[in-house]
């Protein structure tokens, strides 16, 4: 009998988001024992997950309680670990796998402390350094740590591994049932980092007849609350009357108090709300339009999703190519910038790869090696400047950077050949992106001529 532990030290939304994957894994592998580890104040939420065999709550508050000496805290932590996890691994042997779905430093140490044969997600090397080895964790970690485009979510990927559609889950009915019992209040907005965000158009939209909302509540994640609070303070008094900033929700019940929830941040962040049967998607689409989400954004989001799906699992995502809307302001400019940046990146990779191969060929020539190394550094500098100038290529460059940082080897030959591989992969990724872009541009052209519309965009925006 296989046993796995899933670590989710995030908040309610993250915990609930994990349910469908746990259920999917259980359905796919009925004999699999799944232990679910959350922070103890999310224990009641996690216990709603009927498919988890054991739910453990890390008692952070008790461990860190006020006026405790370090030894006391340590004793508390050891006692929790021994009474829950280690008792279980003593009896049944180490877990077959521990999957860490959180990105915090603390979760990486916890992942390492749990006896297991395999670890996925953020964990630690034997010397304590941050470590991720499997490609999907590498990619997702690069996204989260560098806080770039949210093109892929670990939870989404986890859902796919578990072979589930997160919308079809027994938890939905439980949540809806629970929601019916609570006091009906008005609206919540879900927000992430809103420092540069103008809420007025959204509020005006929501106040229209179809939504009938007079007062708004803005919920943020705990981490973002500290970023959003100064933004909120800077708003006009009249806006503040309409929009109330709530302290971060620490449990599901607080969220369930609201009768209607509108999410105007990233749609996948609002999955908790869609799970609760609320009409989130429709409005978030409208909010996206207000938030200037252009077709180029959509293209890159989908292209990266395809690319990393391919890199991580070899599967192909069945999807239609996203179409461009050439009426959008600055589309042509951004498209051309991205094309130029891709070309420059690809050329940089050719140069760096050649330098790596020269290192391998001249492994004894120390003077030349120094020169070659400098050349590679120059290429890296160039790649970084492309990263800073072209927003859309950031994720692919972050992925390369993380892979390069993780090149390991005990001799120069191995290091040089692995490094060459890292540049080769970046170059392949660019080539895939270019192909996808060509497909989307062709599809846009075909769709427009089919509709009989005049193509207003650049006739020459092609790649070859």
């Amino acid at each position: 009998m296989k046993r796995i532990a899933i670590i989710q030290l995030g908040r309610s939304c993250d915990v609930v988001d994990t349910f469908s994957s746990v259920a999917g894994l259980k359905k796919k592998y009925p004999d699999l024992v799944i232990d679910f580890i959350v922070r103890d104040f999310e224990l009641s939420t996690a216990q709603l997950c009927r498919e988890a065999d054991n739910v453990y709550g890390l008692p952070t508050a008790a461990i860190l309680g006020p006026n405790q000496a370090k030894e006391e805290r340590l004793a508390h932590l050891i006692s929790w670990l021994a009474d829950t996890i280690l008792m279980s691994t003593e009896a049944h042997g180490p877990y077959d796998s521990v999957i860490n779905l959180t990105f915090s430093e603390s979760s990486s140490f916890l992942t390492q402390l749990i006896p297991a044969l395999h670890r996925k997600g953020l964990h630690r090397a034997s010397d304590g350094a941050r470590q991720v080895k499997d490609p999907w964790s590498l990619y997702v970690t690069s996204q989260v740590l560098t806080k770039n485009l949210d093109v892929f979510s670990l939870k989404e990927l986890f859902n796919r591994i578990a072979d589930v559609d997160p919308q079809k889950n027994s938890i939905v009915s439980t949540l809806i049932e629970k929601r019916k019992k609570v006091v009906q209040k008005n609206l919540i907005g879900l927000a992430e980092d809103l420092r540069h965000f103008d809420p007025e158009p959204i509020l005006n939209l929501l106040q229209k007849k179809e939504y009938q909302v007079k007062k708004f509540r803005l919920f943020t994640s705990r981490r973002n609350h500290y970023l959003v609070a100064p933004w909120y303070e800077s708003l006009d008094a009249s806006l503040k009357k309409r929009l109330e900033l709530m302290a971060p929700p620490s449990n599901l019940d607080r969220l369930l108090e609201c009768s209607q929830i509108i999410a105007f941040s990233r749609s996948r962040e609002s999955s908790l709300f869609s799970l609760m049967g609320l009409d989130v998607q429709d409005l978030s689409l409208k909010a996206h339009v207000i938030g200037n989400q252009f077709s180029l954004d959509r293209f890159f989001a989908q292209a990266y999703q395809l690319l990393f799906e391919f890199r991580c699992s070899g599967n192909k995502l069945e999807t239609n190519p996203p179409l461009f809307d050439f009426r959008e302001p600055h589309l042509e400019e951004h498209l051309n910038l991205s094309l130029d940046a891709m070309k420059a990146l690809s050329e940089s990779c050719t140069f760096a790869r050649k330098s790596c191969i020269d290192i391998i060929k001249n492994i004894e020539d120390k003077k030349l090696l120094k020169e070659l190394n400098e050349r590679i550094n120059e290429v890296d500098y160039l790649i970084q400047s492309i990263r800073n100038s072209c927003f859309y290529l950031k994720p692919i460059i972050d992925f390369w950077e993380l892979a390069k940082e993780n090149v390991m080897g005990d001799n120069l030959l191995t290091l040089a050949s692995c490094t060459e591989g890292v540049y080769r992969e970046l170059q392949e990724n660019i080539s895939i992106l270019q192909d996808l872009l060509k497909i989307s541009l062709d599809a846009t052209e075909a769709s427009q001529s089919k509709k009989g519309h005049e193509l207003k965009g650049p006739e020459d925006a092609h790649l070859h």
């Binding site: 952070t60 915090s104 140490f109 304590g128």
Partner: protein
């Protein structure tokens, strides 16, 4: 815990350095508002 011996055995199996780092990072989480 069933016996003191079990407890001792379990405690010996824990990596103390990792434990300390976990504790430190939990404290950092609290300071960072997480």
């Amino acid at each position: 815990m069933s016996t003191n011996q079990d407890l001792k055995k379990l405690l010996e199996s824990i990596d103390k350095n990792l434990l300390l780092q976990l504790l430190e990072s939990l404290l950092k989480d609290v300071e960072g508002g997480r």
